[in-house]
């Protein structure tokens, strides 16, 4: 495969590609490369050590003070889990599965304050990320984190709460306008009584479950929640809705209707996510120039992408949180059930400044070299002498040895092409050519500090 195509594929299916991997895979054809993505994407749950939480038994938590203590400590653990997730994204070999997990986390959007439920939910996303969509939705509908987030526990025969039923159709399967209020009401009845126990296992409270007949999309029966999901899957619109979201996320913000039709046809057959993604990555049009270098990286894609090229780790969990918050995307803490909108919405005056400044802040003491050929620049020294705030922004351990080793056979020109998927603006290109290229580290910082680096 050609290097640009490889880069494109790995930016979308992962978080970028290192020179070695690009080199190794360049000898393989597309089919082999895509197979590589799938065979490496085994399911490896992301679990953290919770042994110090064994004191929080059901009995112990009956005391209100203890339960509040659990709540507080649980929130701390969730922040640790957030850091762990980011480290997983940066270091894992199971690229595609992790990227898909991130995608689904912004599809089945959910938030919870119990670390056990958060972890369980996160691994349900990871496990099903390339599985069968129908099974996936059914599992999600029974996850304690989701049951809690969309008020399923308050959904009772006597007083139905429609929150989950509505979002199930509006956001998770069909999209707004593809069902009526009657469908919401009837399906809410099928999900009545859904609940969970202390250990996070799904239960149905028989007393609260509505056993009566429900009429949903012209079918009538004593439907359970799973039956409702099966009926939803029969609507081709469901396959189309998911494929459109996949297309916008992995291909282009602007949808090509013909391409979408192709995806929908494949997906509607059996709702197999792996088959769909394989089909997509093998398609010629996936590699069309109009799709390459057209998307704006999400904050996580930006942060993790940098780590792929120059491995670094945060010393303090608070710093990882702060950066995500300032960039507008904190994992496990979505703004609402609709998730992050993405695209241009990531960008405002504050986030663009921070995005461009972030590589130098994290990796080079907030300094970006501006040494040009044949001239001395003193404003540089003056500017950087007074930037204490920026230097203290976050404590990071950087593995430059890895970088040096991995780029030792890469020329400056090849570097430019590896860091920037899109051709730089003409003026920017000219400016880059004037810079003195003596250090690959400096050049790496310069490249990552360009607007072009925000693109994938």
């Amino acid at each position: 495969m050609k290097t640009k195509q490889l880069q494109h594929l790995f930016l979308r299916a992962g978080f970028g590609i290192t020179p070695q991997l690009a080199n190794d895979l360049s000898k393989k054809n597309r089919k082999k490369v895509v197979d590589f993505l799938f065979t490496t994407s085994t399911f490896q749950p992301l679990e953290m050590d919770l042994s110090d939480f064994s004191i929080y038994t059901q009995e112990y938590m009956k005391d209100k003070a203890n339960s509040m203590e659990f709540q507080r400590k649980s929130n701390e653990k969730i922040r640790d889990y957030n850091k762990l997730w980011i480290e997983r994204l940066a270091n894992s070999e199971t690229l595609l599965r992790e990227k898909m997990t991130l995608f689904w986390a912004n599809h089945f959007v959910c938030k919870n304050q119990n670390i056990y439920f958060v972890q369980q939910y996160n691994n349900t996303l990871r496990k099903n990320a390339l599985g069968n969509f129908g099974d996936f939705v059914k599992e999600i509908s029974k996850e304690p984190a989701m049951l809690n987030y969309l008020n399923s526990r308050q959904n009772r025969k006597k007083q139905p709460n429609e929150n989950f039923a509505r979002e199930l159709m509006e956001l998770f399967t069909l999209g707004v306008g593809n069902y009526s209020e009657k469908e919401v009401k009837e399906s809410a009845r099928a999900f009545t009584g859904y609940s969970y126990n202390f250990d996070g296992a799904f239960t149905i409270a028989k007393y609260h479950h509505d056993e009566g007949l429900k009429t949903f999309f012209d079918e009538t029966g004593n439907f359970t929640g799973d039956d409702i999901i099966d009926i939803i899957l029969k609507q081709q619109q469901c396959a189309r809705f998911i494929c459109e979201k996949i297309y916008r996320y992995f291909v282009n913000d602007k949808v090509n209707e013909n391409h979408l039709d192709e995806l929908t046809t494949v997906f509607y057959k059996d709702y197999n996510i792996e088959k769909l993604m394989k089909f997509l990555f093998l398609k010629d049009w996936f590699y069309d120039a109009e799709h390459i270098g057209t998307k704006i990286k999400s904050p996580i894609e930006l942060l993790v992408g940098m780590q792929k090229m120059v491995p670094f780790s945060f010393q303090d969990t608070k710093d990882v949180q702060k950066i995500q918050r300032l960039l507008g995307q904190v994992l496990l803490d979505p703004p609402n059930v609709a998730g992050w909108k993405g695209g241009k919405n990531w960008i405002d005056s504050n986030t663009i400044i921070l995005r461009l400044k972030l590589p130098s802040i994290l990796l080079s003491n907030a300094e970006i070299s501006i040494k040009e050929k044949g001239e001395f620049e003193d404003s540089f020294e003056k500017y950087h002498a007074s930037n204490k705030n920026q230097k203290d922004f976050a404590k990071v351990t950087v593995d430059w040895d890895f970088f040096e080793e991995s780029f030792k056979n890469t020329s400056f020109d090849e570097m430019k092409s590896l860091f920037l998927i899109t051709a730089p603006n003409e003026g920017t290109e000219t400016y880059l050519s004037h810079l003195i290229k003596s250090s690959k580290r400096e050049f790496c910082i310069q490249l990552m500090s360009l607007p072009e680096y925000q693109i994938c």
Partner: protein, 396 residues
């Protein structure tokens, strides 16, 4: 007001018309404060308990619902036969006496959401409670009538949904010097100076460049204005007062900013409400007092309207922890020198006829307040910005 008029009023008009792109530095524009209407939005984040802020001290239902945390008449600052201000709100009582305060009671929206995040989004986007909008109403105001990020400033480190439009966003700054320094890296300067924007503006890359160029010039403009301005009042020493101090400085500098936004957090008083609310209201009221004095001394109060809201009020009935849980409708404060209806705009809603959660029923949709401000204060088409037609109220 049309976009053209906005530009005409703006002293930047000349540079914007004749210099392509965003590269012009704005340091030469003289302050032009006359008739330049501004809005300062303040959120009491966490859900302020409106009932213990302005207290119905003759209402038996109030005392029955809150045996432990109800405030007694002699602890209050009475303003009418039936309503009294919380003892921390003496500065607000003074504004009330001077005709600079309008209190709108029972402000809310249909089908209220009791999550902080959702309800904040609803207040900031002006959506219905079942809609998830991705632009704030101030952001949409910028889309229609703004030209640069600094037309709307949030005094914080990151930008809230309120300030985000489809095509143009406000800018956030807690500290104009830090933001300026961050944006003025010599490397960015060189890159942006070399940038040519002939064929890129519609693509994402062009958008990134454009936003960075605007951010760089906006932060420079804010920094320079902030440097020449000063405060003429002593402020209390806390973060919220500092935010208002920065706001006053920027207003008094003649910065061409229509909307400022700040928030004061901590109002989520589920437990031991009395002390924490007392402290917070004191922070709020003393900071506002200093802020208004500062504006008055520099002649900018007349053209400034200050609106204080909270994402929801709290449950009428107290809880077991000497606090209150999330509620629905609550009061909104409007402060200014050009108020048409001063004092109480409307009566407090019934405390016996509550919604099914035991919360106050709203009688004023918060978006009618926005509509009134947009139409009567900022003189623009409110329907376009709110994307729905709302009645306007005659408080301004």
């Amino acid at each position: 007001m049309k976009r053209r008029d906005f530009l005409k009023q703006s002293t930047l008009a000349s540079s914007l018309f004749f210099i392509p792109g965003f590269l012009k530095a704005f340091e030469n524009s003289p302050p032009n404060n006359f008739g330049y209407k501004r809005l300062v939005m303040i959120q009491l984040a966490g859900g302020n308990d409106g009932l213990n802020t302005i207290v119905p001290f003759t209402n038996d239902d109030y005392y029955r619902s809150r045996p432990k945390i109800a405030l007694q008449k002699n602890d209050l600052i009475p303003v009418s036969d039936s309503l009294g201000f919380h003892s921390s709100l003496l500065p607000l009582k003074n504004l009330y006496d001077q005709g600079n305060l309008t209190v709108i009671n029972n402000v809310g929206y249909p089908n209220p959401d009791r999550s902080h995040f959702r309800s904040t989004d609803i207040w900031q986007t002006a959506s219905n409670s079942n809609q998830y909008w991705q632009t704030g109403w101030v952001g949409r105001y910028l889309d229609a009538h703004g030209s640069n990020a600094y037309n709307a400033i949030e005094i914080d480190d990151s930008l809230s949904l309120l300030m985000k439009g489809e095509n143009i966003n406000g800018i956030a700054t807690q500290n104009p010097t830090n933001l300026f320094k961050l944006s003025q890296d010599p490397y960015f300067k060189s890159v942006l100076n070399h940038y040519n924007d002939e064929h890129l503006s519609e693509h994402n890359l062009g958008y990134l460049y454009k936003t960075m160029i605007d951010a760089k010039s906006s932060s420079k403009y804010i920094f320079e204005k902030n440097n020449i301005a000063s405060n003429n009042t002593t402020y209390p020493n806390n973060q919220f007062a500092n935010q208002l101090k920065t706001t006053a400085k920027l207003i008094n500098s003649g910065l061409e900013t229509r909307v400022f936004f700040s928030s004061l957090g901590g109002f989520d008083t589920h437990a031991n409400q009395l002390n924490s609310q007392k402290r917070l209201l004191d922070v709020y009221a003393t900071s506002i007092e200093a802020f208004i004095n500062d504006l008055k001394k520099q002649g900018t109060f007349n053209d400034t309207l200050i609106v204080t809201f909270s994402e929801f009020g709290r449950r009428v009935k107290e809880n077991a922890g000497n606090g209150t849980d999330h509620g629905a409708a609550s009061n909104v404060f409007i402060i200014g020198n050009q108020l048409k209806k001063q004092g109480f705009y409307n009566d407090l809603a019934s405390l016996s006829d509550l919604d099914s959660n035991g919360d106050l029923k709203y009688t004023v949709d918060f978006r009618t307040i926005y509509a009134s401000i947009l139409q009567n204060w900022l003189a623009v088409n409110d329907e376009k910005i709110l994307q729905q037609k709302f009645n306007t109220l005659d408080f301004i």
